[in-house]
Amino acid sequence: MDYTPHTDEQIRQMLEVIGVSSFDELLTAIPSEVRCKSFELPSGLTEPEVVQTCETLAQPNVSLREAASFLGFGAYSHVIPTVVDNLSLRGEWLTPYTPYQAEASQGTLQMIYEFQTLVCELLQMDVANASLYDGASALAEAAVMALRATGRQRLLISEAVHPHYREVIATYLSGSSCTIQQIPQVNGVTDLEALNAALRDDVAAVLMQQPNVFGCLEPMAPASELTHRVGGLFVANVYPVSLGLIQPPGAYNADIAVAEARGLGSPVAYGGPGLGLFATKQEFLRRIPGRLAGCSVDQSDRRGFTLTLQTREQHIRREHATSNICTNEGWLCLRATIFMSFLGPAGLRRLAELNLRRAHDVVERLRQVPGVELAFDRPYFNEATLRYTNGKTSDAINRQLLKAGIFGGVPLKRWFPSLGDAALWCVTETVTDQQVDRLVDALKKL
């Protein structure tokens, strides 16, 4: 696609119409402390010189290419097969959007349709949408949908749901009259007794995460059953790669399943764009947020694809729309589609096994290091909470490890002060044996 900038004359005309004297004046509404500072680029540099200057500026960053990373906490680095770049970078695909005049883009709509089918199979749910911005907003959309579908005003959310997700939900619902009650965790998992005590027939939904933010496996099936007893909806936020081994949301009768699926074919990229999966049961089809691709036949009975059930959406239903999301993560959804079709169910299972085995090997080795212990004695997938008893803080340990080119586990005390000095360690299939040796050596030297 060509990049055609505005001319100086066009910019001048636009500013004149809105009565602003310069582009900088247009930006004065943005607080100065968050505005872009000067990059101190001298004028008159050639393009290669600008590129070189920027590369020098970026050099202090340490990327996953150089470092051994044990970071997870919702953003998981997985191998991206070459076929994903090879196909997704083709010009025909390279757009972030669901198209306008959607039906003119049959290829894109068919891809979205296949994506939805794959998501339904992965999560074992009836219907999936064309994706949402990320896992956190997908979970917030699930909360909104549950409030509407039940007509109730109380949400219960486990403390063991990712804290960023809980914050996004609080922001999403800040204008709503509903109440959000947090259900505490005990020894690393949601306290089912506390959940049961909080469940009454005014509860719209219970929101839980599998594996949870500590890496532990939650008792999803009993929690789902307790929720259904009072007529509430059970909402599961899951980790797609784990589903190669762990029960999918459909197996424990979840009403809505959401996930962050960037790990399916896209890099973590400094926390960069996410890919929210959203799936539900058939009975809630018309309450689903976002876009849906459907399959139909044209006048000559040929198979065709279409954006369907658009009466749910904002351009038709206005303020009564199911959501104000009218788009999807088109390109990441394409990459996930290629990734999932390439791996298939057997490949996904193998990937999950690799993660599980490697993570358990590493955690066992780390536990042998004096002063490192497992915080919770619970089954886990590829992430576990470790506690340091050697008198060192997790921040100090991570600073030391960084010198050895290692990103240590995410310190949790900022969100969970009661855990003491604990950190969340993640091991995916991308971690090599040599990197693990380096880590164990570095920890022993602390």
């Binding site: 007509g151 018309r286 009466t311 749910r312 038709i316 239903r317 009564h320």
Partner: protein, 129 residues
Amino acid sequence: MTIPEHLRYTKTHEWARQDEGEIVVGITAHAQEELRDVVYVELPAAGKTVKQGDPIAVVESVKAAFDIYAPISGTVARNNAALQKTPQLVNQDCYGNGWFFAIRPSQPEELNALLTADGYAALLKTTAH
């Protein structure tokens, strides 16, 4: 355009019929013509408490989706389950088999504030485009 004499009407194009202790509600011939082919109707559950003017049902056509408002306060007594399988009834027989729900009114006098057939016909005339 049919506007039966024995019904009362709202400005939002619902009709209301007194049927023993209940008020049966549907949408008018004008409304279903404007909507065209109805493909889905979402109905309130029996037992739900509603206030006059609350949006309590949704009707969706190939063209648009609209809320249906309670013409009177009370409790939902019944809904027309047949619409779930056969939403076309709204187009085929909007004053009969295409009814939406029935309300047991808590303030029956609210019915008097609704439009008569003449009043509704006049409303349609003024809003005609």
